[in-house]
């Protein structure tokens, strides 16, 4: 109920910190790109850069949605399951002959509904976010499998499945989708008062409530945004793989969370940005892309990813403490 003033748990980001952090992560990404450019011929080819932008896109969108939730000091473990589930939903709708636009809208609404259910569980039933989203994670995979009877649903809509492969102005359409999500997300989080309410709720929800902030609505909002981002990614995935399959995107929730944290979001809430998770997601994508190009054994790839997460977050902590 009181303001948490102990110095450890209330990192005191100065004004410029967010920008500085963004810059430094950007520096890290640039350094990675430079190093890979020097060590492999293939890295700086247009084809590979396109690949990279495509490969980071889905995690990036998930990470932005996840960041809204983490800023409120919550967590959304269900995003991977939502991606798999909504890929089934859209495939099912298309197969049933529902027009494309309606299928897309219905699928996104499904995301809204799932997010609202999470909000309901947290706000009305008083469940910890970890638990309610873990439960939907389990159940959604089950429902998706039931719909497909454990198998996959093919999507025969050419326009839909070609979309993820097209380019626009030389940039892959999947990356345009990141921009499409990131710009309103930025306006929402950093410029509108609803964004500020997310921070306030994450910092001290009692204080927010006493100030007349509708805390419940803010929590609903965060989880709906996260689930809707996930449903959107479900559409993109369905387009990319051309099928609906409920077991896809397993473990993506952890990648989204990791991207968000690498991007400077604090799991204790009230610290985060929109550009951070985007950079985090593309750093992770670069590590994978680079490892493939360098022909690093896929097991080593896991080990390196784990170590890099530690190193990146550690330096971020250092910088934060230093900039106090």
């Amino acid at each position: 109920m009181s303001v948490d003033t102990t110095t450890e748990s209330a990192p005191a980001p100065k004004r410029g910190r967010n920008i500085l952090l963004g810059l430094t992560l950007f520096g890290l990404l640039a350094a990675l790109w430079l190093a890979l450019g020097l060590s492999t011929n293939a890295f700086w080819t247009p084809g590979n850069i396109s690949n990279l932008l495509r490969q980071g896109a889905m995690t990036a969108i998930l990470a932005v949605g996840q960041t809204f939730v983490i800023i409120t000091a919550g967590i959304d473990l269900s995003v991977g399951a939502i991606v798999g589930f909504t890929s089934v939903i859209v495939a099912w709708l298309l197969q049933a002959g529902v027009p494309l636009w309606a299928s897309i809208i219905l699928t996104l609404l499904m995301g809204v509904a799932i997010g609202a259910f999470h909000g309901f569980g947290i706000v009305r039933m008083g469940l910890p976010p970890f638990i309610i989203t873990l439960a939907t994670l389990t159940s959604l995979r089950g429902i998706g499998l039931l719909i497909t009877n454990g198998s996959t649903i093919s999507i025969n809509h050419e326009g839909f499945t070609n979309f993820s492969r097209t380019d626009f102005l030389g940039v892959p359409s999947l990356f345009w989708m990141v921009i499409l999500v990131a710009i309103p997300a930025f306006v929402f989080l950093h410029l509108s008062r609803f964004g500020r309410y997310l921070f306030a709720v994450g910092s001290n929800s009692e204080a927010a409530r006493l100030s007349g902030v509708n805390v419940n609505r803010t929590i609903y909002l965060a989880y709906i945004l996260s689930a809707t981002c996930a449903a959107f990614v479900g559409l993109l995935l369905a387009s990319r793989i051309g099928i609906g399959n409920a077991t896809q995107a397993e473990g993506w929730e952890l990648q989204a969370i990791a991207s968000s944290v690498i991007g400077g979001t604090s799991l204790f809430g009230a610290v985060g940005s929109v550009h951070g998770p985007l950079l985090g997601a593309f750093i992770l994508a670069t590590i994978n892309n680079g490892a493939n190009l360098l022909n690093v054994n896929s097991f080593w790839q896991r080990i390196i990813t784990g170590l890099l997460i530690i190193v990146i977050v550690y330096f971020d902590q250092l910088r934060r403490r230093g900039s106090r």
Binding site: T40, N48, R54, L145, G150, N162, R240, G242, N295
Partner: protein
Amino acid sequence: AQEVTIPIIVKDTTSFYWQIVLAGARAAGKDLGVNVPELGAQSESDINGQISILENAVAGGPAAVVISPTEFKALGKPVDEAAKSVPIIGIDSSADSKAFTSFLTTDNVQGGRIGADGLAAAVKAVTGKEEGEIAIITSLPGVGSLDQRREGFLDQVKTKYPGLKVVADKYADGQATTGLNMMTDLITANPNLVGVFASNLIMAQGVGQAIAENKLGDKIKVIGFDSDEKTVGFLKEGVLAGLVVQDPYRMGYDGVKTALAVSKGEKVEAFVDTGANLVTKDNMADPKIDALLNPKVN
């Protein structure tokens, strides 16, 4: 002269089966003087991951790519696209694409049928007739090759062995322990169970363990799929009645060999079936079978 690079992309690098494929490819690389990056997703259900790996591999400018698509439909377009810049050789499973230059596959539906035949024979050997309650345990839902094995198995049972009744058709979560727990519960719930088809390596291990724990090798006949030291041991002990074994080593080796030939502009066969065999205690000493069971990994 620059070294020729032919990457091989498998479905799941964390499985023994695919490691044998990679071992074959590695051997071919050594024999033929080709650089063979060993790539692959970390789970058979990670379709998107495999697409990304394919994209990355093509970006590296190889002479050809050998790939085993995780999912028939999903890999179709990516393979089409990749084939625009480089020849693609398919192994093990196919994809919804006409762009493959050559195919070395084993028919998983056929594998399922072989499993059904093996199970029926094993049941008959004990009870004298092809009758009784049987079950199938699939390691993970949503995996193309496992779906095909299940389909082949169920279809064969339905058409050829009407006396065999499938009382349980279960999906686990890819964990041996889950397979084990499921099997012990099946034993409890279905005292008349006479046979089980465990359609991949990890399930064969889990199910085998349950049979071993309950010492039911004589009563419940289990057919597994693929082999490793553990399951071959089970086969010897009579815990497992049979294993459907493919030739992953050859697929890897010949895949790279064919790819090299293609990249040099040579003509290759468009389709090769590397086959699947039923291994039982009786034929496991067979030299040909023995080579399948003990591939030269490493």
